[in-house]
């Protein structure tokens, strides 16, 4: 149907890049901690959806809890609570964990 050839460029997964230590993926952020988003990688149609929902570099994000059966995470971006699966959370790169939210 639609061609997304030129768009779906798999960006390098910065979280494993040794040059940028201190960075981790949102999926690795411990529950209750917050951090700032550094980059949103991954396939463009997913990254675009994530960014439209508020996951943009610079925005503060925190992991509130995980779902009872372990998978979707409840995260908070700005004042908004969202459910994202770990698979998507892994494409979001965040900085150092900063504070503990109550």
């Amino acid at each position: 149907m639609e061609s997304r050839s030129a768009l779906t460029v798999e960006a390098a997964t910065d979280s494993t890049d040794p040059m940028r230590r201190g960075l981790r993926s949102l999926a690795e952020l411990p529950i209750g901690f917050s951090a700032r988003i550094v980059a949103v990688n991954g396939a463009s149609h997913i990254a675009r959806r994530l960014m439209e929902m508020g996951f943009v570099p610079g925005a503060p994000v925190s992991v509130v809890r995980q779902a009872p059966f372990g998978d979707p995470l409840e995260v908070r971006v700005r004042s908004c609570h969202l459910a994202v699966r770990r698979a998507e959370a892994r494409t979001i790169v965040v900085g150092d964990p900063q504070s503990f939210i109550g």
């Binding site: 639609e2 061609s3 997304r4 030129a6 768009l7 460029v9 960006a11 390098a12 980059a39 949103v40 990688n41 463009s44 149609h45 997913i46 990254a47 675009r48 959806r49 994530l50 960014m51 439209e52 929902m53 508020g54 943009v56 570099p57 610079g58 509130v64 809890r65 779902a67 009872p68 059966f69 372990g70 998978d71 979707p72 409840e74 700005r78 004042s79 908004c80 609570h81 969202l82 459910a83 994202v84 699966r85 698979a87 998507e88």
Partner: protein
């Protein structure tokens, strides 16, 4: 509001034209921003629901009486987070904005609904809406809630920065509606001065300028180029396509995440606005967080979900029986009254057994549909539904479905019709179709009379280990069979005809809110009415056809129709045997014989394709015990046990009964379901596919059951 509205003097022709014509106003906004509440408050009950041509996206529109006596046609766009991506909803919204939707003129103005408690994310869509031609009026909703949460928004400043009117509204309390009406009339008349400016990087701006060509460089041209360059779809023209691809390559070389640039630029623009207009005082303790620590708790969460579902289930399954029996009884009485007061004859029969019974068979589902939608709307409006999807997503994903498929599937145990209608909350079309296609496998309440009859006839007093009733075990086995097959079919569908990338789950968990009674009533009303109107016509037509099949050709001349009840059922039985339906029964006998069924059961099967529970009444007619028998009637059970084949063997054995039950678990024998699937998918393709594959599965399973059972020495 008491201030009177002085319309400014008309000055030119354009004014006159807009003055006379009915305005078309589109209303757009993020999901959960309060769009539905506002739409309902503006239009009241004067709304209708249709589909956009060729797609399954619903189009709601209504009439809005503006101040000053004018009316506007108010179009509700689908809930959107952006206009960028290529989902059907977003494409449709774009088409409407550009006046490309069939049957819709370009809107004279757009009401953009913005949730004041979530300003940043809501403004993202606004930055996009502002790039289209129609003037925009922002309706700032949830201002009461924002106030309570200590969020202070400088409305005047927001208006200045965006260059469009901003009207605070609280739709449930009808606050701000007059101001909105005034602002919209004004905007439609004068257009609007929009001020959104954001620039991209040097490289990107250079590429855009080059692609715009030397001619016009207006906002519309820029928007088109941006769409080509950053959108998911390439232009059809070969040369243009090559240009775009080359530009993308150059940008890509500069920055691997080049395509994020417009997104980030919009957010920077929004960031600047937020910094100027939003002040958050001491944030109050968040009630939603407190509720969620219980509702989505590792242990209590699933427990609460189970309890809520049990309540829903119990209501639809058991308590809805009361009004259903009333409706059933009323239509039964009406049919008898028709027979009693009209002279006997074909027309009376058609009226009583075709039309009245047909209408009754539609309306009898209304209590279940209404009740289910009451629950669904309550759960949806309060914010619980997103939590249910959050909890269940992990398990549903195992099958390839979305967490949101859980509730519709569970409701289908009561009745697939409201369940299928409830799949609307699933945005991904393929997921939604997969859910619709497997929903009828959930054993609905209409199958129970069939199970009950079979068990009463052959397994009533059998027990295992002295206490486990075989009947209960069998019913449980039938439910499990349905679930297992549904899971397998979903798995196969998601890997074949409904294959697609697993859609990401990025789902908002909205704050809990007290549902608004008016919204709920309106939703239920529109759903119920939709069902009666759309499904009703199809069901009625099929009822009449089935009636005709069972009543033609006539055996007895009209004159010597018997008058006593006993004689009448004998006549009916005779009539049925010689009717088209009876002949069809004989015709399909060779096909169904491997399942253990004879031609009399064949008649039952044929009629049960209208509605499953019809099997019971058809068998009563076939076995000549009168149509008023129900599934626990001793005479019918006796007749079934005594029925013989031509060679003297019993027509039914326990194995036949099980084979029949298995067939009923899997076959799509419900024209109401077919009609609803037709309506929900907006095509005949899916309902036909559903009937065919389900019937094929049912046949195969009953075949294996019967032949396998015989090989093992049963039956």
């Amino acid at each position: 509001m008491s201030t009177t509205f002085d319309s400014p003097p008309l000055t030119n022709d354009a004014d006159l034209r807009t003055k006379r014509r009915q305005l078309t106003i589109a209303i757009a906004g993020n999901p959960n921003a309060g769009k539905t509440s506002l739409f309902n408050a503006l239009t009241g009950l004067r709304q209708k629901v249709a589909n956009y041509p060729g797609v399954t996206v619903e189009r709601k529109e209504g009439i809005w009486a503006l101040e000053g006596g004018r009316t506007a046609r108010l179009i509700d766009l689908p809930g959107l987070y952006s206009l960028d991506a290529s989902s059907i909803d977003e494409r449709i919204a774009r088409d409407v904005l550009m006046g490309r939707a069939r049957g819709l003129p370009a809107p004279d103005a757009i009401i953009a609904v913005v949730d004041a408690t979530n300003l940043a994310r809501n403004l993202y869509l606004i930055t996009q809406l502002l790039e289209y031609e129609p003037p925009v009026v922002i309706a700032l909703t949830m201002v009461d809630m924002a106030e309570r949460r200590g969020i202070d928004i400088d409305v005047q400043r927001l208006r200045d920065l965006l260059g469009v009117p901003v009207v605070p509204v609280v739709a449930p309390q009808r606050r701000g509606l007059n101001e909105l009406s005034r602002a919209v009339s004004e905007a439609a008349r004068h257009g609007a001065t929009k001020r959104v400016q954001w620039r991209l990087s040097e490289q990107a701006e250079r590429e855009i300028a080059a692609l715009c060509g030397d001619g016009e460089a207006g906002p519309a041209a820029r928007r088109r180029v941006m769409e080509e360059l950053y959108g998911e779809e390439l232009p059809p023209d070969q040369n243009r396509r090559a240009l775009i691809l080359a530009a993308r390559q150059r940008l890509q070389a500069h920055d691997p995440n080049w395509w994020q640039e417009p997104l980030l630029a919009r957010y920077r623009f929004i960031e600047r606005i937020i910094a100027e207009v939003e002040r958050t005082k001491e944030a109050k303790r968040d009630l939603t967080m407190a509720i969620d620590s219980v509702i989505t708790h590792r242990f209590f969460g699933p427990l609460i979900l189970a309890a809520i579902m049990l309540l829903v289930f119990q209501t639809i399954f058991a308590w809805a029986r009361v009004p259903m029996d009333l409706i059933d009884g009323a239509f039964g009485a009406l049919a008898q009254a028709v027979h009693a007061y009209l002279p006997p004859g074909l027309f009376t029969d058609l009226l009583a057994d075709g039309i009245v019974a047909g209408v009754g068979s539609v309306l009898v589902f209304l209590p279940q549909i209404t009740l289910l939608f009451l629950f669904i709307t309550l759960l949806e409006d309060s914010g619980y539904m997103a939590r249910a999807a959050f909890i269940m997503d992990r398990l549903m994903r195992g099958v390839g479905l979305h967490g949101k498929a859980f509730v519709p599937l569970l409701s289908s145990f009561a009745c697939a019709i409201p369940g299928i209608m409830a799949t609307r909350t699933i945005e991904n079309q393929k997921d939604r179709l997969a859910t619709i296609l497997i929903a009828p496998f959930m054993s609905c309440s209409a199958r129970l009379p069939v199970y009950t009859l079979m068990i009463a006839a052959f397994f009533s007093d059998r027990r295992i280990f002295g206490f486990l009733s075989v009947g209960a075990l069998l019913i449980m086995a039938m439910y499990l069979l349905g679930i297992t097959v549904a899971v397998c079919v979903a798995w196969v569908l998601k890997r074949t005809i409904l294959r697609g990338p697993t859609p990401p789950l990025v789902m908002e968990l909205p704050p809990y809110r007290l549902p608004n009674p008016l919204t709920i009533l309106q939703t239920i009303w529109s759903r119920a009415w939709l069902f009666v109107r759309r499904a009703g016509t199809v069901i009625l037509a099929i009822s009449i056809i089935l009636w005709a099949l069972a009543n033609f050709p006539r055996v007895a001349p009209e004159g010597d129709r018997a008058q006593t009840v006993a004689d009448r059922s004998a006549v009916e039985s005779e009539q049925l045997k010689h009717s088209f339906a009876g002949r069809l029964g004989h015709l399909i006998e060779p096909v169904i014989a491997p399942l253990g069924f004879d031609w009399q059961m064949g008649i039952g099967l044929i009629s049960s394709f209208a509605a499953r529970e019809t099997l019971v009444s058809t068998l009563s007619i076939v076995y000549n015990v009168g149509r008023e028998a129900d599934s626990s009637s001793p005479s019918l059970i006796e007749a079934i046990r005594k029925a013989r084949r031509p060679d003297g063997r019993p027509a039914w054995t326990p194995l036949t009964a099980i084979s029949m039950m298995v067939f009923f678990v899997l076959a799509c024998q419900c024209m109401s379901t077919v009609a609803v699937v037709r309506r929900e998918t907006n095509s005949w393709r899916w309902p036909i596919f559903m009937v065919l594959y389900m019937t094929a599965l049912a046949y195969a399973a009953a075949f294996i059951t019967y032949q396998g059972g015989r090989l093992l020495g049963f039956g």
